[in-house]
């Protein structure tokens, strides 16, 4: 699958940082406003998908792209489990909120909740991207 014409390429290139930044905002503010790791991760993945469709897959190496996305998704999952085990290592319960919760409404508040959502955001971004890339490669790659 080669890329599209110059108009979609330019629009995708200009729009990409805004969409990715908006997704990151949704992930980071998951404990303050509606949103969180799941929808934010999908928004970030859609930004990458927009670039992949506009520019084509010819610049991507199939195996390395898929392996990297797999590694990122596994890293997100491992981060979630390690954060959950933090409570056990301190003699408390699994998934217990061990960090201080801070002041309500501030960015650094809520204990481990924002960090758990960061892990979920990484996992969802890489997972959705992995699904979409493997479908794109299966139906139109390697040309």
């Amino acid at each position: 699958m080669s890329g599209m014409s110059i108009i979609p390429k330019t629009i995708a290139r200009l729009l990409f940082p805004f969409v990715a930044f908006f997704g990151a905002y949704i992930v980071v503010h998951g404990h303050l406003s509606p949103g969180g790791g799941f929808p934010g991760g999908v928004v970030i993945a859609s930004a990458f998908l927009m670039m992949a469709i506009a520019y084509g897959l010819s610049g991507l190496k199939r195996e390395s792209a898929l392996v990297r996305a797999e590694a990122l998704e596994t890293a997100g999952g491992v981060a979630i489990v390690l954060l959950s085990l933090l409570g056990i290592s301190l003699g408390l319960n699994f998934l217990q909120n061990v960090l201080p919760t801070g002041f309500l409404g501030e960015l650094f508040s809520g204990g481990i909740l924002p960090f758990l959502y960061l892990g979920v955001g990484l996992k969802v971004t890489a997972g959705i991207l992995l699904v979409l890339l493997s479908m794109l490669f299966a139906f139109g790659g390697e040309e």
Binding site: G30, H31, R62, S84, L95, S134, A138, F139
Partner: protein, 101 residues
């Protein structure tokens, strides 16, 4: 043609019935069904979580407080389901792409 008209009418009737049923049975905006616990309406679990979640979990978003504070195991399982789904899709489409290539 006749069958098509009958199907269209059936779909319209069922759709209107569904809309009316949902409209009639929806609670008022902003309210949610309270469940009595021990005969005490103030102890309804939804009301308790709404009032206590910001203080107990430190999260301004009550949904996040429930998802990662009160029901962390459930969300961990949700992430595992996503992982399983991704593994399944990738296994399927990898084999498909390799056979085509």
């Amino acid at each position: 043609m006749n069958e098509r008209m009958a199907g269209l009418m059936l779909a319209t009737i069922v759709g209107v019935l569904l809309i009316v049923a949902v409209y009639v049975s929806l609670p008022e905006f902003g309210s949610f069904p309270l469940r009595n616990i021990g005969g005490n309406r103030e102890n309804a679990i939804g009301q308790r979580i709404l009032e206590n979640a910001p203080r107990e979990t430190g999260s301004g978003n009550v949904v996040t407080g429930v998802v990662w504070g009160y029901r962390g195991y459930d969300t961990l399982g949700e992430a595992t389901i996503l992982f399983t789904a991704v593994v399944g899709v990738v296994a399927l489409f990898r084999a498909f792409g390799r056979r085509r290539a």
